[in-house]
Amino acid sequence: MYKRLTPVLLIENGRTVKSIKFKDNRYLGDPVNIVRIFNSKEVDEIVILDISASKNHQGPDFDLVKSLAEECFIPCAYGGGIRDVKDATRIFEFGYDKIVLQNSFFLNRNILFQISQLRGSQSVSLSLDVQTGEEGDFLLYDYAIGGPRNQDLSEVIQSAVELGCGEIIINSVDRDGCMNGLDLNLVDFVSRKCKVPFTVVGGLGTLDHANQAIDHGADAVGGGSFFVYKSKTKGILISYPSQSLIKTVKS
């Protein structure tokens, strides 16, 4: 089985950005052409997250979301501002295979159940942002307010799976944009607690990092900076390892 290597694209007010530790968002360009390039490179899957929708108390920018789906002949997932089943249905109709929930799940966990009933568990993922606390414990982070969620990570994972979640996407806030390796302790933790596939994101800098995460139990590895920066001067250039290199990510 091939483990997926997944570019994660962040969109803020219609603009593609890349963060470091969830801050200092740097402009990367218009999302439509970026998605088109990833599609041409035949990536395993692409995850598109609108990080401004929930902050602005808005639903998804449906026009943009639709125009992105039109460029995908690869598996694609969308998250950001999905408020209810109606929003989710519209997103599926555009052609997305999966929708990604975060804030609406914490407002009302039942939404996950409803969507998984509608389209099957493989169609809904839960995205969780995690920081490491002082004692090395894992704390859920709320990016919309920039502070802790005060809910237990294990309990949330378990509850999500019971409600029909098909996949957990786990983002390390501390490793975001650092390109110095994924948080393997976090991977170990989630691997023990999570019965469904999970993707770990945050810190991907080399394919070795990806292999390590997979050895520790991750089913897929997501990245941002790894796919958009080139050379130590971080020139913005979309890249994706060639098929021959990807074989090393196979389990």
Binding site: M1, Y2, F73, P75, G95, R119, G120, P197, D219
Partner: protein, 203 residues
């Protein structure tokens, strides 16, 4: 016009991706909701995502169950994912009658070695020659499902994939009926080649 591909829309999944991909490779498509909207009715694609129960219900309520069963010899049919499951007798996943074109029951993937749902890219093992894989690089295709089709006759299985230490059907085929477990519309150029093979089939 004999290459017009009609895509059955049970309204349980988006048909846009398949339609887009086929149009992109240069063939005409039409999305049909009811049998009466069929133009040629010669090349049909039955896509499906989600779960068996609602799909089977729509199949029946929209009149497809009876239409397809009554006209079985008149068309080439390609079922994708839940569409493939609908080609069988029924499913553990939910209530409802399948088309019965392939003698098979749909069951839950049960393995402790790998997580379910199965989401990812797999290589196929081809068991017997099938139009769909003509000149298609046997590279990876994208899967996203929790249930698989268990066939009574090994002959009906054209290609398999392995997952969690077990082997499952990737492509089932009997005469003019074909089912594929994976998503060609998400498998970029490999999927496009497979759909082109279907589009170019002589009916």
């Amino acid at each position: 016009m004999s290459n017009l591909i009609e895509i059955i829309d049970l309204e349980v999944c988006n048909v846009i991706s398949i339609s887009n991909m086929i149009e992109n490779i240069g063939f005409e498509t039409k999305v049909v909701k009811k049998p009466s909207s069929l133009e040629l009715g010669k090349k049909l694609i039955l896509p499906g995502v989600g779960s068996f129960g609602p799909a089977a219900k729509r199949l029946k309520d929209l009149g497809w169950l009876s239409y397809l069963k009554s006209n079985q010899d008149d068309f080439s049919l390609l079922g994708i994912c839940i569409g493939m499951h609908l080609l069988g007798n029924g499913s553990e996943e939910g209530p409802g009658e399948g088309l019965g074109f392939i003698d098979a029951t749909v069951k839950l993937i049960s393995t402790t070695l790998s997580p379910v749902p199965h989401m990812g890219w797999e290589e196929l093992q081809s068991l017997k020659s099938n139009f769909s894989l003509n000149q298609v690089e046997l590279s990876k295709f994208y899967f996203s499902h929790s249930y698989f089709m268990e066939c009574e006759n090994d002959d009906d299985v054209a290609a398999t994939f392995s997952y969690g230490g077990q082997i499952f059907p990737a492509i089932v085929s009997k005469e003019n009926i074909t089912g594929i477990q994976f998503h060609p519309e998400k498998s970029h150029r490999h999927g496009a080649s497979l759909l082109r093979n279907f589009a170019e089939l002589n009916v």
